[in-house]
C-alpha cells in the first residue's frame, strides 16, 4: 500500500535537510508584522490589478459627471463649481473606497488563510493594520487621480501644494479611522456582498446629505441640522479650508477628534470580533 514513487523519495531526502537547518528567529515587532501584511496587500494589487478599477475609473467618472451636470446650474460655470466641488468629491471618492477593506477581510475569513494568521505568535492587530496600510496606498492613488483631474478642469487651490497635501493627509487619516467600522462589519456579516450592502446603506446618506455637492443653506432646517453634525460634512469643510488656506483649528480638531473616536470604539471592537472564534 506504500506509494513511494521515486519523486516522493527525492522529496523526502531534501525535506529532512530543510527541516534540520531551521531554528526559530525572534518574533517580529508589531510594526514589522504590520508592514509585512501591508506588503501582502500590495502584492494582491500587483496580481489582481482589476481591483484598482474602483480607485481609478470611478473617481474620474464622478468628478466629470458632477462637474458638468451641476456646474452650470449651481455655480454659474463649471470652473466656479470645481473650486467648490473638488475637495468634496475627493472626500466622497475615498470614503466609498474604504468599503472594500471590509469586503476583503470578509473574503479572507471565508478562506482558510485567516486561521493560519491567527495561529501565529504575532501582535494580533497586525493583520488588520497591515491591510489598512495597504489600503492607504489605494486611497492615495485615487486622491492623486481626482486632484490631477481637478487641476485639468480648472481647480486652483488658494492653499497651494502644502494645503492640498495636508487636506489629503487629513482625508487618509479619516479613511483609516472609518475603515475600522467596515472591518468590524466584515467580521460580523456572512458574505462580502452583505458587507457591501450595509456599508452602502450607511455611506449614501452620509455623502449625499452633506455639503459635498451644494451649500446646505437652501436645505430645510432638519436636514441642515443633520448635515451639520455629519462627520463627512465636517471633513469636507476642513479639507476645503486646508485647500483654500482658510482652515480653523476648530475644524481640524473636530475631524481629528472624530478619527480618534472611530478608532477608539471600532478598533477594539474589531479586535474583539477578530479574536472571537467562528
Amino acid at each position: 500500500m506504500t506509494t513511494t514513487t521515486p519523486r516522493a523519495a527525492a522529496v523526502d531526502g531534501t525535506l529532512r535537510s530543510v527541516l534540520s537547518t531551521s531554528s526559530r528567529p525572534p518574533r517580529p515587532s508589531p510594526l514589522a508584522a504590520s508592514l509585512t501584511f501591508g506588503w501582502r496587500a500590495l502584492l494582491k494589487i500587483k496580481h489582481v490589478p482589476e481591483q484598482l478599477f474602483d480607485v481609478t475609473a470611478f473617481p474620474i467618472m464622478f468628478t466629470l459627471m458632477f462637474t458638468f451636470l451641476f456646474g452650470g446650474a449651481l455655480a454659474g460655470s463649471t470652473g466656479e463649481y470645481i473650486q467648490f466641488l473638488l475637495p468634496g468629491i475627493l472626500v466622497q471618492t475615498v470614503v466609498f473606497i474604504t468599503i472594500y477593506t471590509g469586503m476583503g477581510l470578509n473574503a479572507d475569513i471565508s478562506k482558510g488563510i485567516f486561521d493560519r494568521f491567527r495561529s501565529l505568535p504575532l501582535w494580533r492587530p497586525a493583520a488588520l493594520v497591515g491591510a489598512l496600510l495597504g489600503d492607504v496606498v489605494r486611497y492615495a492613488i485615487a486622491s492623486t487621480i481626482v486632484i490631477l483631474l481637478g487641476l485639468v478642469l480648472g481647480f486652483r487651490p488658494a492653499g497651494g501644494t502644502v494645503g492640498v497635501l495636508l487636506a489629503v493627509a487629513l482625508l487618509l487619516a479619516f479613511a483609516f479611522a472609518l475603515t475600522w467600522v467596515w472591518t468590524a462589519l466584515g467580521l460580523v456579516l456572512r458574505t462580502p456582498e452583505s458587507v457591501m450592502g450595509v456599508s452602502m446603506m450607511v455611506l449614501f446618506p452620509l455623502t449625499f446629505a452633506s455639503n459635498i455637492f451644494v451649500d446646505p443653506a437652501t436645505m430645510p432646517g432638519w436636514l441642515q441640522a443633520f448635515v451639520d453634525i455629519n462627520p463627512v460634512s465636517r471633513l469636507v469643510t476642513a479639507a476645503r479650508g486646508l485647500m483654500g488656506g482658510t482652515v480653523t483649528v476648530g475644524q481640524l480638531g473636530w475631524v481629528l477628534g472624530a478619527c480618534a473616536v472611530l478608532v477608539g470604539v471600532f478598533g477594539p471592537l474589531t479586535m474583539r470580533l477578530y479574536n472571537r472564534e467562528r
Binding site: T4, F37, S119
Partner: protein, 335 residues
C-alpha cells in the same frame, strides 16, 4: 465496554511532558455539541490520528488545540501550556495546516512562503532563502512564481504544508491532509509526515480514511458525535473487535441465505451480509472453527469461490464500535 479497556493503555503512559493533554473538552455551536467531552493524551514524537466521519468533531477539536477556538468546558495543554491562558506560548510551538488551503491563492508560492517567513521573524533576505529552500524540498521550484490558484490539488497541499514548517514546529496539526488528493499526491504527503516525525515533530492528524490512520498513526482515537469512542494503537483497536474476520464468497448468490444459516450455526456468531450479493463475513475468535464451518458449506454443496481470514480492518472496527460504517458518511461529503 471495549472503550474502557482500550483507554487504560494510554492512561498508564502519562509521565514526561506531554505534547497534548486534553481533558473533557466541550464545544457547542448553538444547540449542537460539536465536541462533547474529548480526552486526549499525546506523547511527543508520535503521529496521533483522529479518525472519524465528517461532522464527528475532529476539526473543532484541532481548532481548540491550535488556540483558534476557546473550549466551552474542559481544558487542554500543549507542551504544558494552557491553550487558553498561554495561547501565545502554544502558538510559538505549533504549526497548522487547515482542511482548506490556508495560503493566499492570489499570491505565488514563493510570495506565500516569504510572507510566512517574514511573519515568523526572518529578516527579508533570509526569508527569501528559506522560501527557496522549502520550494526546492517540496519539488515546487518550477512553480515558485505561479499564483497558488493555478496549482494542482497536490501542489497546493504541498505549499500549504511547506508554509506550516517555515519554522519546523514541535507539534504539527494536519486537518485531513490528503482529502481530495490523488493516490500519488497522497503518498507524497505521507512521506512528508514521516520525515517530520523522523525529525522529532509530533503530528496530530485527522482523517476519515481508515487506511491512512492505519499507515501513519502510532495511536488512533476514533471520534463519533463529538466523543472519543475508542483509543489505542491500530492493533489494539483491531484486537478489541475480535481475533479477525472471515470473508466468504459464494459461486451462486442465490445460496447465500443457506450459507448464512450454516455459517452462523457453525461459528456461533451472527453473520453479516455484505453489499456484494455473493459475499458474507463474520467475526471469529478461532481459526479451527472457520475450517469446520467451511467444511460444512462444502458438505451441503454450497460452492465457495473465495475466502479469507484476517485481522479486522479499521472499517470493521468502526462498524463494530459505532454501529454504522464510515464510508456512508464520507459519501455525503464527497465532491
Amino acid at each position: 465496554m471495549m472503550v474502557a479497556v482500550v483507554r487504560e493503555v494510554s492512561a498508564v503512559s502519562a509521565g514526561a511532558e506531554l505534547a497534548i493533554e486534553a481533558s473533557g473538552l466541550v464545544k457547542a455551536f448553538g444547540a449542537t455539541r460539536a465536541v462533547d467531552g474529548v480526552d486526549l493524551t499525546v506523547r511527543p514524537g508520535m503521529v496521533y490520528g483522529l479518525l472519524g466521519p465528517n461532522g464527528a468533531g475532529k476539526t473543532t477539536t484541532i481548532r481548540m488545540l491550535a488556540t483558534l477556538l476557546k473550549p466551552d468546558a474542559g481544558s487542554a495543554r500543549v507542551f504544558g501550556h494552557d491553550v487558553v491562558r498561554e495561547a501565545d506560548a502554544v502558538r510559538s510551538r505549533v504549526g497548522l495546516t487547515g482542511q482548506y488551503a490556508s495560503v493566499d491563492e492570489d499570491l505565488t508560492g514563493f510570495e506565500n512562503l516569504v510572507l510566512l517567513a517574514r511573519l515568523l521573524g526572518y529578516p527579508r533576505s533570509q526569508a527569501r532563502v528559506r522560501a527557496g529552500e522549502l520550494l526546492a524540498a517540496f519539488g515546487l521550484s518550477d512553480a515558485a512564481d505561479r499564483q497558488v490558484k493555478k496549482y494542482s490539488g497536490g501542489m497546493r497541499r504541498r505549499v500549504d504544508i511547506a508554509a506550516s514548517i517555515v519554522v519546523t514546529p514541535d507539534l504539527m496539526f494536519l486537518d485531513e491532509p490528503t482529502s481530495g488528493l490523488d493516490p500519488r499526491s497522497r503518498g507524497q504527503v505521507w512521506e512528508v509526515v514521516r520525515a517530520l516525525v523522523a525529525d522529532g515533530t509530533t503530528v496530530l492528524l485527522t482523517t476519515q480514511y481508515l487506511d491512512e490512520a492505519d499507515q501513519l498513526a502510532d495511536r488512533i482515537a476514533v471520534i463519533d458525535d463529538g466523543r472519543v469512542i475508542a483509543e489505542g494503537t491500530s492493533g489494539e483497536l483491531k484486537a478489541s473487535v475480535g481475533a479477525g474476520a472471515v470473508h466468504v464468497r459464494l459461486g451462486d448468490p442465490s445460496r447465500r441465505p443457506e450459507a448464512e444459516r450454516l455459517l452462523s450455526s457453525a461459528l456461533g456468531v451472527p453473520v453479516m451480509l455484505e453489499s456484494d450479493p455473493a459475499a458474507l463475513s463474520a467475526r471469529v475468535s478461532d481459526a479451527q472453527q472457520v475450517a469446520d464451518a467451511l467444511a460444512g458449506l462444502s458438505r451441503a454443496g454450497v460452492a465457495v469461490t473465495d475466502f479469507s481470514l484476517g485481522q479486522p480492518s479499521l472499517d470493521e472496527v468502526f462498524l463494530a464500535i459505532t454501529g454504522h460504517p464510515v464510508s456512508e458518511e464520507v459519501k455525503e461529503d464527497a465532491p
